[in-house]
């Protein structure tokens, strides 16, 4: 039983990432009608916002220490971050330690700028074009973005740890009545799960309870009629693209302590996130979230040794098998709307 609960927890944190990326994909598809294959790259850029802020905060000046030698036998250059120099050792090191949570604030304006530039500079020219064209151009854009990141940051993963206070694991089993050490779970993964829930709640609340959100929802349902009412729906949709970019970006920032970011991480999530969107139902925001968590949990269970002993290799294909089963029985996905991508 404890193994089952542990895999549910694993599935939920994996599903959190799927759900956040799929949510952004669905927002863009639902508003602009664009199939955005560069969405994984936005997740990756968000992660590299955390790396960038970490580098900014650890930007250092060097002092020659004659008592120590470097690898060539020359006096060692000891690096001291300016932040430590300005704020003192305790405060400076704390600021560096909390660089990942701080990177959320850093990433929001960056992602708005990236999203706005991407939409106005490229994607708006493809609104009237077939979906195949949109896929080609956004996939090409994704490759360009990841190559730029690789050229600047290198190909190897870059460690971006969580704050010390949130590093390590805790005994979840004791909280729910199991014995000690039965269910050990990393603190940061739980933080990521609740963070994802908070972001999802905020997006839904924004769309549900604000006038702006109401207009966007109306535009998603009937763009032409909203336009005839004199509302500049295109401008609102552009803002929604930037919001979707922000959702992907902050998801990427918070993911960095779970797995060290590398230039390819967006592509690793992209295909699975598209499966999530299709399973949830094209254009359905609740469907994207539901399918994200569902497929995350199923993938975690398929990785269990007991399951793999019965069906070898099931962990690598379970998501696709479930997608086939759902699309055969519910062609519009779990919560898909009639008429979306059916013309």
């Amino acid at each position: 039983m404890d193994a089952v609960i542990l895999q549910v927890l694993n599935g939920l944190d994996k599903g959190s990432a799927y759900a956040l990326i799929a949510l952004g994909l669905t927002l863009i598809f639902g508003t602009l009608g664009v199939v955005n294959f560069a969405h994984g790259a936005l997740f990756m850029i968000g992660a590299f916002c955390a790396v960038t802020l970490q580098r900014i905060l650890t930007f250092s000046y060097s002092v020659i220490d004659e008592t120590q030698k470097d690898f060539l036998g020359n006096p060692l250059k000891v690096e001291t971050p300016y932040v430590v120099s300005w704020f003192g050792e305790a405060t400076g090191n704390s600021i560096i330690d909390w660089s990942v949570p701080l990177a959320i604030l850093f990433s929001i304006p960056v992602m708005i700028a990236v999203g706005f530039t991407m939409e106005r500079g490229l994607i708006k020219h493809f609104y009237k074009r077939p979906h195949a064209d949109q896929i080609l151009v956004t996939f090409g854009l994704a490759i360009v973005l990841q190559e730029i990141v690789k050229a600047y940051y290198g190909a190897n993963p870059i460690p971006t740890p969580a704050p010390d206070a949130l590093t390590g694991s805790f005994d979840f089993g004791v909280l729910i009545g199991f014995g000690e050490n039965a269910i050990i779970y990393p603190i940061w993964r739980l933080v990521y799960f609740f963070f994802a829930l908070a972001i999802i709640f905020m997006v839904f609340a924004f769309l549900r309870f604000t006038t702006f959100g109401m207009v966007v929802r109306a535009g998603m349902a009937d763009r032409e009629t909203v336009g005839l009412l004199g509302i500049n729906i295109d401008r609102r949709f552009t803002i929604m693209f930037a919001v979707a970019a922000c959702v992907a970006g902050v998801a990427g920032v918070m993911y960095t302590p779970i797995n060290s970011p590398n230039y390819h991480m967006g592509m690793d999530f992209l295909v699975l996130s598209f499966v999530v969107v299709v399973v949830g139902g094209m254009g359905s925001l609740p469907g994207a979230v539901l399918a994200g968590f569902l497929l995350g949990v199923l993938e975690a269970f398929a990785s269990m040794n007991e399951i793999k002993a019965i069906v070898p290799g099931i962990d690598q294909i379970i998501i696709y098998l479930v997608a086939i089963a759902i699309l055969l029985t519910r062609p519009r996905g779990l919560m898909g709307r009639r008429g979306v991508m059916e013309e």
């Binding site: 060692l76 990393p186 975690a300 793999k308």
Partner: protein, 451 residues
């Protein structure tokens, strides 16, 4: 990919060589290696071209970049530039800075992308279009095996780069292929006694293994060597090569009864699985009355940096490390560090050595003919290249030398100071017979000069 102009003279020369080879009875070709015809891509009088096939894109691009730096340094030294590097410490003193056999060394580069088909295509292009007489490089066993096969068919020498699978000089060995890097068997043989000493015998190990050729041979090797020192293998689970989050694979370890986790992963897989294992508190756990331990049998300093603090205290093995204090290592680190500003990786070291070993073999053979080079390298004993006395064994074209057992450093002084050498395992402890079962099923065949 850089290109060399296809000249009328080159075409005529190659055609003449091809015709001569066809016309010559094979009984005469066997011993006449000094003849400058009758083999693939015979170089002209002024220069020779080497083909450096490294991952310039893809997940191992940083290792590829470091290999390329080392190759450029080797070419510079062979042509008499720079400080000469390990030419001065190499026990065979045929290299004097005048190129190879008096010809200036030139090179072309290819991008393996860490994909077998792409690596073969770039190697083929370098051989056919650029006239490369030798192909070298790579950062993956699947690529090494693929390119080695191609070089055997084409009739050029292949000097493998970073490849750790037993199969490269085991079941997939080829007469035209040579490996300086150590292999999975050697990692196990070096590591197991150190593990038993550090963590005790009677340990229970749980393996997570990357599901491809290299992972399988490493798992087999580490299991055999650790079981030989009294450890028990509780379970060995294969993980997809494309996996990025290993939490679902690590969760079952917690309740498996194992007290050691062996990560048969490399590159991004290793960084992520190790990070995940530490996140799940494995290193803080106590099982069977013992501290839970993690082992990473194959370390790469470039990769270890990606795992950050998580590598601290974790044991593994490596082919070479820049902190070694022998003359060869110190000279190489000084040359490389002065030119590039940071110490070389083990990938850089092995490809630099391979380039020098090839050049020296050509000089000693007095010919670029691949069969002459094979003859010169087989059974060749040398020293001064950073690993102590080394043998290029004739039976399988594998180098035998000391192996380093390393540990993630607790108090690094710089971003390069990630690992510390725990033990230099003598070669006698890691050598194995050519017909060892883990290397069975292969046949070198005969050298192929290409025409």
């Amino acid at each position: 990919m850089s290109h060399t102009k296809l000249t009328r003279r080159g075409v005529l020369k190659t055609s003449a060589g091809f015709g001569a080879a066809l016309a010559t009875p094979t009984v005469f070709t066997g011993a006449s290696w000094a003849s400058e015809s009758g083999y693939m891509n015979a170089p002209g009088d002024s220069s020779c071209t080497l083909g450096f096939n490294v991952p310039q894109t893809g997940p191992y691009a940083d290792e590829g970049a470091d290999e390329l730096r080392a190759y450029e340094l080797a070419v510079e030294h062979l042509n008499g530039g720079g400080d000469g590097g390990m030419l001065s410490t190499f026990s065979s003193q045929t290299l004097d800075g005048t190129g190879i056999l008096g010809r200036k060394v030139e090179y072309v580069t290819g991008d393996t992308q860490t994909k077998g088909d792409a690596a073969r295509a770039s190697a083929k292009s370098m051989i056919e279009k650029d006239g490369a007489i030798m192909i070298t490089g790579g950062s993956s066993s699947s690529v090494a095996v693929a390119v080695q096969g191609l070089c055997q068919e084409a009739g050029v020498i292949f000097m493998a780069g970073l490849t750790h699978s037993n199969d490269t000089t085991g079941k997939d060995r080829k007469a035209n292929g040579f490996r300086h890097f150590f292999n999975a068997y050697m990692s196990g043989a070096a590591l197991a006694p150190v593990l038993a000493n550090a963590y005790g015998s009677g340990r229970k190990a749980y393996h997570l293994t990357a599901d491809y050729n290299w992972g399988w041979t490493q798992e087999e090797s580490i299991k055999a060597s650790t079981e030989a020192v009294g450890w028990e293998t509780v379970s060995a689970v294969r993980t997809p090569l494309a996996a990025t989050d290993f939490s679902s694979y690590i969760a079952p370890v917690l309740n498996s009864g194992a007290d050691v986790l062996v990560l048969n992963h490399y590159g991004g897989n290793m960084v992520n699985s190790l990070t995940n294992a530490v996140q799940f508190g494995l290193r803080d756990k106590e099982v069977n009355g013992k501290n839970f331990e993690i082992v990473v049998p194959l370390y790469s300093r470039l990769m270890a940096r990606g795992a950050g603090e998580n590598v601290k205290g974790i044991l593994g093995s490596t082919n070479w490390h820049w902190s070694l204090s022998d003359d060869g290592s110190k000279t190489f680190v000084r040359s490389f560090g002065t030119k590039y500003g940071f110490p070389p990786s083990q990938a850089a070291h092995t490809v630099y050595c391979q380039t020098l070993l090839y050049a020296d073999a050509v000089n000693r053979a007095g010919t670029f003919n691949p069969c002459g080079v094979v003859e010169a390298l087989e059974g060749f004993e040398f020293d001064g290249l950073g690993n102590g006395p080394t043998l290029y064994r004739a039976d399988d074209h594998q180098c035998f030398k000391d192996v380093l057992v390393v540990r993630g450093k607790e108090n690094p002084t710089s971003e390069f100071d990630v690992l510390e050498v725990v033990e230099v395992t003598p070669v006698e402890q890691v050598i194995y017979p050519p017909d060892h079962p883990m290397f069975a099923g292969g046949d070198l065949g005969t050298c192929n000069p290409g025409v």
